[in-house]
Symmetry: none
Subunit: 193 residues, 4 copies
DNA sequence: GATGAATGAGCGTTCATTCAT
DNA sequence: CATGAATGAACGCTCATTCAT
């Protein structure tokens, strides 16, 4: 098995177990077993459990980001772009429930806090398609004049909540409902007439 | 120290530690130490850690609920009532960050899932002021015709996100911003012209 | 409640719980509850758990001894006397399963060893009807010339085993079977032709 | 150290401590210390304390059984065979006092009750040399017509009692005394002329 | 005298991490 | 390199005993 394959095997196993059972329901030994490697082997690829979790998150963010950008065209109107992105996020979460569950675990933990702080206050220079979109909307006076953080909240807050409820079976999101939910988020963002 | 005082001492210590470090960062021994009682003492007041956590939640829910209803008048128009509730929730979270952090930990855990399921699908008969408000809004065709679960998401999703960001210091919510944020949530809910 | 009544209440509760659950399945708090007294109260009557257990045993031994002697007449022939005693022991055990279970727990524990040592090697001066009977049998050359300890074993070993099996439901001892079992023990003891 | 050596080290330590102090006087930490391994190591070899105890018993039963059968020839007369077995049991207990003390602890505990029930009422298909012997004796009308359970009691009850007393130093069993004791047990079993 | 709340050492068990093979 | 046996600190919880009321 090539080096990268083994790393992936471990990452997949870890993500799955953490998604299903939380950080504390995913002991390293269980991850090793699921990945069909020795327990010690994990430490050749990841310095320790914290590092493993953070790298898992990075991988996931990248994957999600590339999905979001598929079919995204900056020429379209703001609303259409927002709805494209929102629907893509929601669909990704729904069709990749393990990824979503992991993301939730991550965000709701000390890991997530640190990560979010870094993201909001520089420390990272990755361009953020949402930030761009919001800034453009602000410049055009198309969306409400609220702090960036609040705009994020209005856009993502409902999506995350609704995705979790779908995965838990509290609601069934079909294509139409996804669209309507994202449109409702837009209504929250946009300047009202 | 009176019985109730000691119970409260333990509850406060537990809530604080859980809020700050999560369930797994709040061992019983540490709770005992913080509450300045013996480790065994906790078990005179709470059958076990699970029960402690659930009672903490119950207490908190009650406290929050009574705050929400203070000054709530069912005669006011829908929008005004929604904004009253939303602003009250947000203010509570901001001024009681430990309570809020605890609530988040709780909701994002098996405890929370069970609780939410019971709440959504009967099993509890406490009347829910939000549900009533949404049902009235639906009947009046004032808010969007979406499943109850989605309405909750549109109403609470942004508030929770924004409350967390305030507590983490990513944004400062003053009275005006609180009001505007809640109004934006209402825009998300209400039927657009 | 008079002092002795309360002592008895505690003793009965303790015996019952120990019989049913073993020493470690009978916490002091549970004994107190069953005896309807405060946990601390037990310590007014018994210095500590060890003392309680030993006194329980003493009480029981006394009770058993008095039952054995009921209807015992030293004038009857050896065999008849032996059978009287053996059947009485067996019947007592069967009709007082809690007492028997307690005795077993006691004998099979460090308590029992100490007690037995004291009994065999003096330290106690209570006269022992069995010892007398055996000594008489030895003198008459009616029973086998074996050490006293072995004679005890031949007499009691089977009775204890069979009593336990009855209580556990592995066999049902009726009057006839009791008699035959005790007679078989006598066959073990007596000098064969 | 090889895997089996370490398992044995743990098993020996556990057996010794349990024999000397009972199940509750043999905490896992103490077993680990005596076996010179870490506390967690025990759990690589035995799922938990219950399993450890049951495996200890199994091992012991096997050892004892193989000793019993050494030199046992089914062609010999009943009495000779019985005496061979009885003397072998007694000798084993005397020369392996830790094993014997452990067996006693085991039999006098919930573990033992379950095990005995299974043994008496099927659930196990291992052939039992004693049962065979008794059945043959019954068929030949050589031993008393009593329930199997009572026959066991007459055969083993005295042996167990006497073995314990030897180990505790209350009597010294030499070869001659062993033989005479077992013969006395036979007298208890056999039909009297 | 009687109480029962409080204690804290001790229990069985888990698991992130190390290191000899 | 890869392994997985070994570790031991830490966990949730129990209970004999004490002592303020």
């Amino acid at each position: 098995m090539a080096r990268l394959e083994k790393r992936d095997e471990i990452a997949r196993a870890a993500l799955e177990l953490i998604a299903e059972n939380g950080f504390h329901g995913a002991p390293m030994a269980m991850i090793a077993e699921k990945a069909r490697v020795g327990a010690g082997t994990i430490y050749r690829y990841f310095e320790n459990k914290d590092v493993l979790i953070n790298e898992l998150y990075r991988d996931l963010e990248e994957r999600l980001c590339s999905v979001l950008m598929k079919g995204y065209s900056p020429e379209k109107p703001l609303r259409a772009r927002f709805i494209h992105l929102g629907a893509a996020v929601l669909r990704y979460c729904i069709f990749n429930p393990l990824d979503f569950r992991f993301l939730e675990q991550f965000h709701n933990s000390p890991y997530g806090v640190v990560h979010r702080r870094d993201k909001l206050f520089g420390k990272t220079d990755q361009k953020d398609v949402y930030r761009e979109l919001f800034e453009e909307g602000l410049a055009q006076q198309a969306i409400k004049d609220l702090p960036m953080v609040v705009l994020y909240a209005l856009a993502f807050g409902p999506l995350i909540t609704v995705a979790r409820d779908h995965i838990l079976g509290f609601v069934v999101l079909d294509d139409s409902l996804i669209e309507h939910t994202v449109m409702a988020c837009w209504d929250g963002l946009k300047r009202q007439a």
